[in-house]
Structure formats: structure tokens, C-alpha cells
């Protein structure tokens, strides 16, 4: 049913797949996610829609192998199929509800961390198709982890690359890169941050310092993705919200990140982490944001 049409390894452990899922493709908008299951006993794994082709009825997903289930997904080959793909879920980015003229006047910057590049791409592409070229800072630990650079370049205004080890572009993380742009006199009036929670937390703090309103996309633990289980709950401005139906995007200045990161650990088992370390060997670098 949900056949895999293309599969590519685009980073040390980042896979890109094009999957047939006509209903999801028909309705998917930037900011939304879907849920996949690798097989009949698979877990329900939420992934952001990274691209869609409404005519072909396909969606693109990009995922990083961080645990047992994403490993299982990475074993699927072209011609094989996911047992389930359901979506699109969650609310689209609020940018797409704004009048185009307003968007064209806005100075928007995206900050993508690691595999967060994929969801940012969908938003940038939509804006580009509507005549809006936003800037983007794409950050990663090192240059091997900077994925989809050419695709990104094609759909944004300025693309600033940043690596923690200085192996490519700006030497430092996305948040420091943003501060540098401000030092150099750049100014923005809207920021979208997508990446690991710890990165979103510090980047949102940076935005606050710079007086820049920001939006973050919360990747909490989820089960159903339809508002039924409450596993994805988080605190936003002191209120309980469900990431799957109230989000996944929220005002970056209001999210309780520490709480959210703690809850993200819920089902991280010791064995799971050990397995990961073993399988990944030298490439292990705590992609999940939990073990450092």
C-alpha cells in the first residue's frame, strides 16, 4: 500500500524516502507531520512531512536512526512498503495563513538543527513557490551532518551554514550564528526554529535576547497523534497542550523545554541506549539529545 519509491542515505544515519501515500500527499501543508509504521508490529513513529508531490501522490520523509524503530524503518528497501502512513497531522505552519503581501514584507529567518532541516525545507519551499525568500541558518555538529544543502539553497534567500566544530561555514551553533548576523547589522521580524529540543531551547533564549519572536516545532513522544492519549502533552505558557493537535508549532518563548526534555526520556531504556552505542560505534553522538 504505502510503497517506498526512492530511498537514499543522505548523512551518516539520515535517510530520505519517497513514499506513496495519496491521501497524505493531497492534503499535506508545511509544518504538518505524519505517522508511519514499518510493519504489522511496528511502533507508530511521527515524522515531519519534508516534501509532497500532490500529482504523484507521494510524500518525502527524512529520518535519523536513533533507536530500534527507526533502525527497522531504515532496513526497508525500495519496492517494499510501510504497513501504515497516516496524516497529515497537526496544524500547518501559521505562516501559510498570512496574506502573501504580508509575508513578502516580512523578514523571516529559519534555524534548522540537524535532521530538523527536513521540515524547514518544506516550509521554505512553500514560501519560495509563493514568491517569498526567507533566510536560513542550517546548523549541525560537523559538515557530514549538514544534509540537503543544494535543495535548501534552491529555495531560500541566504543560506548560512554553521558547524559546532567549524568544519564548514560559521564556527559555532545556529544560535551563535544568529547573534553574529545581528552583530553584522541583520534584522529579522520572525524566526522559526526546528531541531533537537536542547537546540530549540537555547536558540529561543537567544531570540528573546534579540527581541525576535520565534516559533518552535515540538517533537514529543507520541502514540496516536490524534489527541487521544495525552503522551505528547507539554506546558506552554503554564497551560497543558497536546503537541499533536495543538501544535506541533508553538510560541518559542512560552514552551517549558526542561519539562519537555524530561518527558522525552520517558521510554528511553538503558538497553536501547547501549544498543545504539554499539551499532553506531564511532558515529554515536547522541542524536536524540538525551545522552551526551
Amino acid at each position: 500500500m504505502f510503497e517506498i519509491l526512492e530511498k537514499e542515505l543522505i548523512g551518516p544515519k539520515e535517510y530520505k524516502m519517497v513514499v506513496r501515500a495519496p491521501r497524505v500527499a493531497a492534503k499535506a501543508l508545511p509544518g504538518q507531520f505524519l505517522i508511519v509504521r514499518a510493519d504489522a508490529e511496528g511502533e507508530r513513529i511521527p515524522l515531519t512531512v519534508c516534501d509532497d508531490d500532490k500529482e504523484a501522490g507521494t510524500v518525502t520523509i527524512v529520518f535519523q536512526t536513533v533507536g530500534a524503530e527507526t533502525y527497522r524503518m531504515s532496513e526497508l528497501a525500495v519496492g517494499e512498503a510501510f504497513a501504515d502512513v497516516v496524516g497529515p497531522l497537526g496544524n500547518p505552519s501559521d505562516l501559510i495563513d498570512r496574506p502573501i503581501e504580508e509575508l513578502q514584507k516580512m523578514k523571516i529567518i529559519f534555524i534548522a538543527g540537524g535532521v530538523g532541516t527536513a521540515p524547514v525545507y518544506h516550509q521554505l519551499k512553500w514560501l519560495h513557490e509563493h514568491g517569498v525568500d526567507a533566510d536560513c541558518i542550517q546548523g549541525a555538529r560537523n559538515k557530514d551532518l549538514l544534509i540537503m544543502i543544494d535543495e535548501m539553497r534552491a529555495v531560500c534567500g541566504n543560506l548560512y551554514l554553521a558547524t559546532d566544530d567549524g568544519s564548514e561555514g560559521f564556527h559555532g551553533n545556529g544560535s551563535q550564528c544568529l547573534a553574529k548576523l545581528y552583530e553584522d547589522g541583520k534584522r529579522y521580524d520572525h524566526c522559526v526554529i526546528i531541531g533537537p529540543m536542547i537546540m530549540m531551547k537555547f536558540t529561543a533564549m537567544q531570540c528573546e535576547k534579540l527581541g525576535l519572536p520565534c516559533v518552535v516545532s515540538m517533537n514529543t513522544v507520541m502514540v496516536d497523534g490524534t489527541g487521544m492519549c495525552g503522551a505528547c502533552r507539554l506546558l506552554v505558557g503554564g497551560e497543558v497542550k497536546f503537541a499533536c493537535v495543538d501544535g506541533p508549532e508553538f510560541d518559542g518563548s512560552k514552551v517549558d523545554y526542561d519539562q519537555a526534555m524530561l518527558r522525552g526520556r520517558l521510554y528511553k531504556t538503558e538497553e536501547g541506549r547501549l544498543l545504539l552505542k554499539e551499532q553506531e560505534g564511532a558515529t554515536h553522538e547522541g542524536g536524540c539529545g538525551v545522552c551526551k
Partner: protein, 465 residues
Amino acid sequence: MAITVDMMKKVPVREQAPKERAANFEEVCLGYNEEEARAESERCLNCKNPMCVEGCPVSINIPAFIAKVKTGDDAEAYRIISESSALPAVCGRVCPQETQCEGKCIRGIRGEAVSIGKLERYVADRAKELNIKPEPVAKNGHKVAVIGAGPSGLTCAGDLARLGYEVTIFEALHKAGGVLVYGIPEFRLPKEKVVAREIENVENLGVKIETDVVVGRSVTIEELMEKEGYEAVFVGSGAGLPRFMGIPGEQALGVFSANEYLTRSNLMHAYREDSRTPIYRAKRAVVVGGGNVAMDAARTALRLGAETHIVYRRSEEELPARKEEVGHAKEEGIIFNLLTNPVEITTDPETGWVNGITCIRMQLGEPDASGRRRPEAIEGSEFHVDCDCVIMALGTSPNPLLHKTTDGMEVNKKGGIIVNEDEMTTKEGVFAGGDAVTGAATVILAMGAGKQAAKSIDAYLSAKN
């Protein structure tokens, strides 16, 4: 060996012993065998004016089907039940019989009511052995969409298919069944043996089930009607939105909604060793609430190895759960803390994990609007219970997604979809029923609503075409 029947008492039903079953997920109640069913059927007086039928929300002709059990014609008994119910194997197991059919049975005045639920279950299970299948019907060329594959949706779809409609059910999850698959545990309602088979029966009638479709997101009701050619829609989306108490500590690790806990265990099979879905196996679990959901969560936690407590703010008499389940829970060793209400969940500051729950004792005051005596806190009676897991089973409400994405379909203050006496919503051609309308209720009421809606949809489309 013939069974000697005490006319005042039900023929006892065989069950797994409490000690044994507390450690497995096999069905607790083993049901009647042929001999026991025949013996129990002898107790029915075949009343001229059967009160039991009045107590059944779908008016099953109870004396008639029991009379057939008496004569050994189980196939005919099944046919009689099927006239009124699409899910007898389910209802026989989960209906709150004590307040419905059996609550009205004349036998109950001086002794115990006839065991109608167990007999119904017996007949439905026998029908499987006899391999009785519904006959497909010629199609009439009209298309109806059903949203949600729970009891209301399945029933509505089945009835419409019997009338010749081409019916497709759209289900958000990867599996059909609604609460029957994600909520009610295996040990009460076997998934393969009972639920899957009832769903198969609906499919055998020609109903298509498309899973992985979240109506409102994957496709809207308007699009189903305008682009995909469905002439009417039935909304049976249930009441799946969990409630929390809003007390401090509810965000802690180890605090779950019953929905999450049960979904992991049931739908995702986390109770099985070979499942890839994680579930937290607690040492001491506290379940807050007193309904069927609370009992199911508590008994699941127990089976996963926890010492399990139930905290409920009213007294035993008010426990909304089925009597049989409360009895089973007690036998299995669940500890009931009645007239008790949580005020705070405490957390280990180092790990963020729950380490206890502070409760306050309650007393019952004057009756409130619901007619039940209102629980009031006894000041200064707080006490603390250590635990490493808290499960909130406080009730659920309808998911707002469909209302928000469907112009003109109104809901009431509690989020229930508003319908008229024909189950039609405020949007033309769109009908609704079950928990989505009433808020969390029962399987049989949801089924009844599905039946009624099927009739109304048929009348509506017949008048239109």
C-alpha cells in the same frame, strides 16, 4: 452429568482462578458450555410481558432467543439476536447487564436475574463454531461514508450494507474496533477471537474499511460528500480526548492517561514480550477514577507486575464500573481507596519521576445535579502514598477535530455533536451517534445509536432519490 439448577441462582460461570489470572492476559471469564447454557436457559420464565427486553437498549427479543437455547437450536437463537444486535459476542461480555436487561428481569425480584449476558455470549460464540455468516446483499448504488470503526460506526455500516448501500468506514487508527481494540483489555474482550471476528462479519456484508484516515485532516467531510460521492455521512468518532485533573505534578514522568496506558498495552500489544512498544511496568501504581476505564487500567497494571491501588472520590455504591469488573478487580487483589481524592503528585527532583501521591479523605454531602451525593473534602485529612506510577482515568470527551473542520456541524457545551431525533446533525446529510454525541457511555448505547442512524440515513436517502 446433568446440572442441578437452583432456580433462585444463576448457574455459576467458570472463570480463571484469581491468582492465576492476575499474572496473565487470557480471558478471565470462560463462559458457559453447552450444558451450562441449557441449564441456565431453564430459569427463564418466557414472560408474556418481558421486562428484560425493556431494559435492553436495542430491545433484543430475549425470551425468544433463550427459548431457542432451551431447545438446543443455537443457530436460530443467533438469528433472533442478530435482528437487533450486530455485536452480541461483545455486548454479552461488556454490557452493564445489572442495570440493563438483567436489572429488569422478573427473576431478580426474589432471586438472581437470568444470566442473559452470559447466554448471549454463549450463543454468539456458538455461532462462530457453527460458522454462521451473514449473506451479502445486492447493492443499490448509493454510497455512504462512516467515520470511526467503533461499535457505533460498525453497527451503522453493517445495517446500511444489509439495506444495499455501498459503505466505506474511515478509521483514524491502523486497526478497526475503536475502544474495543484500544481500550478494553484482552482479558475482558479477546481481540482475535471476538473483536476481529465481529469486524470480519461487517466486512462480509460488503463494508469497506479504510484505516489510517483521520477525517478532518486526511480528508474533510465536505470532500467526502462533494468529491468522493458519498451521499450521506455517519460520524461515530467516539469520545477519545482524555481529561487530566490539573493538580501539581501531573506532568511528571510516570503519570499517564489511562488512554495512553491502555493503548500501549492493547492496540500496540505492549503487554506481550514480543512487542516493540514500551510500557512502564510499575512497582506500585495508583489509578485515579472508578469507572470501567479505571478498572481496566488497574487490572492491566496489576498484570504487568504492580501492586495496584484505585483512588475514587465517592463510595463503593457510586462506582460507575460494571459490578462484575469491580468484583473481579477485588478478587485479583486491587486495593480500593474509596472516598479519597488526589490533591498533588509528588516528584523526585533528581529524576523528574513520580514518587508518590498526596490524597485527601472525602465524605458524601447533599445530592448534586446528577442526583448523586456530592463528595466533599475533609479538611486536614491529607495523607501520602508512595508510588512510581499514576494513571488518570477521569473520563474522556469528544475530540473537537471534526467539529472544527466541518462547517455547520454544531456541538454542545461539552463538545458532543448536536443531533435531532433522527440522529441528523445540524449539517444536512451528516448523521452522528455514540460517544461522539453523548460523551463517554456504553457499547450497547453506541450500537443502538448506529442502528437508529442507519434507519434514518435510509429514510433520508430514499426520500431524496
